[in-house]
């Protein structure tokens, strides 16, 4: 493992496997009556959230508290950022407090990489711009493996606004390290240029793009839905949410194209009726709430492994 977790594309398959197996042990801890371990006692963690977040921030904070690290929360609107302080000065100041972990969410892609280069603390990317959301991909993989035993040989559809989705990107990078077939489904206006088979990261024989959702869902094992970011509306990527749902929304009828027991996933927050219908979201195939629970164990595992790597865990 490295000092930081800035992206899935920066770590190896072995790293992913180590995180997932470690997360499994932490999940056992979370089932106990007393859910707290002293692993990171005496350590300090700052949650630096420059973008609004409820579930990721809560999940990290719970993971940190379960590991007994001291936690400081920092949100951009109430900080010196509004006084014009640069990101560089903000993190150098925070480092001077003697923190061990910086968990950062930022609207600029690469902001965690920039910080990681400039501080000694371990930096964990909690979502940067349209680049990556590594802990989300890890918890997604953990959830799939929990339900299906392995990622090997599975066909996984990722549906929606792939272009703007850091969740989708991290999942593509993670699943590319394993022998899973990836199908990206969505409108061409929201499909990034992966230059299939020419990009070093996504060189993978079974990554394909579908504009036709019915075709793309055929016989899939997992359907990962992405949130349609409502702030993108009116920017011309698609005409209306109504039309979007008609072609790329997941309802029960469409879900039948996938395998009978296909898992339905969503990173949240959901827009019911825009990308996913309520009956699907609440169906027995949905593992959306398992994803939330597993997020805590995965984030505990990441922090534990990073601290161990620094030799002071």
């Amino acid at each position: 493992m490295l000092k930081d977790l800035v992206g899935i594309k920066d770590i190896s398959r072995e790293d992913v496997e180590l995180i997932l197996s470690t997360a499994s042990s932490f999940k056992d801890v979370l089932k106990r009556d007393i859910k707290k371990v002293p692993t990171l006692r005496g350590k300090t963690t700052v949650n630096l959230f420059f973008e609004p977040s409820t579930r990721t921030k809560t999940s990290f904070e719970l993971a940190e508290k379960r590991l007994s690290t001291d936690v400081l929360n920092f949100s951009a609107p109430t900080s010196s950022v509004v006084k014009g302080e640069s990101l560089y000065d903000t993190v150098k100041t925070i480092e001077a407090y003697g923190v061990d972990f910086i968990v950062i969410r930022h609207s600029s892609s690469g902001a965690p990489h920039f910080i990681a280069r400039n501080v000694n603390a371990s930096v964990i990317n909690a979502g940067d711009g349209i680049n990556e959301h590594p802990t989300q991909a890890l918890l997604d993989a953990f959830t799939i493996i929990e339900k299906r035993g392995s990622l090997q040989g599975l066909t996984i559809a990722i549906v929606g606004d792939v272009f703007h989705s850091r969740v989708a990107k991290s999942n593509v990078y993670l699943l590319s390290k394993f022998d899973a077939e990836i199908r990206l489904i969505g409108p061409p206006t929201l499909m990034p240029d992966f230059e299939l088979n020419s990009s070093p990261v996504t060189r993978h024989p079974s990554l394909s793009v579908y504009y036709d959702m019915d075709e793309g869902l055929k016989d899939t094992d997992v359907v990962m839905m992405l949130r349609i970011q409502t702030e993108r509306q009116g920017r011309g990527f698609f005409p209306s949410t109504q039309e979007y749902f008609r072609y790329w929304g997941l309802d029960m009828k469409r879900l039948k194209r996938a395998k009978k027991d296909a898992l339905v996933m969503h990173p949240g927050p959901m827009n019911r009726g825009v990308e996913i219908s309520s009956d699907v979201a609440d169906s027995s195939q949905s593992v959306i709430l398992d994803q939330v629970t597993n997020g805590i164990a995965v984030r505990m595992a990441v922090m534990y492994l990073l601290s161990r790597e620094k030799g002071d865990g």
Binding site: S109, F114, D128
Partner: protein, 442 residues
Amino acid sequence: MDNSMLIKNGHIIDPSQGIDGIGVLVIENGKIKEIKMQDARCRMQDKKNKSRESCIMDRESDARIIDATGLYVLPGLVDMHAHLREPGFEGKEAISSGTMAAVRGGFTSVCCMPNTEPVNDNETVTEFILRKTYAEGACYVFPIGAISKGQKGEELAEMGMMYEAGCVAFSDDGRPVMNSLLMRRALEYSKVFHVPIISHCEDLNLSDGGVMNEGAVSTFLGLSGIPAAAEEVMTARDIILAELTGGSLHIAHVSTEGSVRLIRQAKELGVRVTAETCPHYFSITEDAVKGYNTNAKVNPPLRTQRDVEAIKEGLRDGAIDVIATDHAPHHRDDKLREFDKAPAGISGLETALSLSLKLVRDGLLTMSQLVEKMALNPARIMKLNKGTLNIGSEADVVMVDADREWKVDPERFASKGKNTPFGGWVLKGMPVMTICKGKIYE
């Protein structure tokens, strides 16, 4: 005779007179006095000078003699595209530091873009720049005025008054003229003064806030992309408008294969269009951005290997007339931040010649053709009496050691802008002495 200088044994190249060989260059009172060639190809020159040979020898004792053995002796380079930042952004660069960077890089004339604060959209700012240059400039500065008031792309700036004050071309560089009608008017109106309109070709709707080239690498980095089409659409538009108006159009910083193709076709059709590229567009690709390297953030963005090859071919076959620097210095703090929030630009004056010499080593251009691209052609396009060693012209001379290797250390730049993606590179060839305004820089 204090002001006389005799440069001997150097390989003199001056495409404006077809000179290419070993010879003696005599400078007197800051002007080119004489060129005496050894080379048979320049016998005509020789014959003309023969009667004065004894005269030269007589003077040798008084003149400063420079032995240029193993060096090229060239007309001082002309950069038709630089940002000197003054007035308004003196933290990034000033006329004094920018012109010092120029002479260190072998340039003796620099044309500066109008995106200062205030914008050079009126004669007062033009006069200020020229006054500052007179007082503090190490080399000649020729201001480029704004096409539109405040570079807002709405109404024409007072081109005539700025022309009289000393502007040599007009451009809204950095801010593309999105309004096609305004561009048409600029190309028409500028015909009165016979000056070029320099176009920064970028369709802002297509670039849509992008920060690097659009493609697999932008996806890989999660950065929003600027497609090549954002440049090419506007290149095509401006060529069409140049054809319509008969105005003289110069395309700035060409970065894509498609733009090269469009310009080549336009020239074949006889449209009055010229074009420049910059060393970074034929030296590196978008891969330099990896790691969120803000020093590789530039507009237009670094493109693909395919584009690099097309730019080189354009330089070779003449589709691209000029190598300019687009010297865009920024303060360290400006670049020490999130990639998408960092300003675009590369500090280019002090690496341009060295990077371009590789084109000669690779056999793409002859040394004489390189001098055309970096001195003669820009001077001709801007109608400057520069880029030449003609008898009687100002003694703007650069001596180049094409073999000397050096390591790029931005901290040692004369420019205030240390922002370069070439820091740490070992480059071959460098200017070892620049003569400008009667001073010697070595």
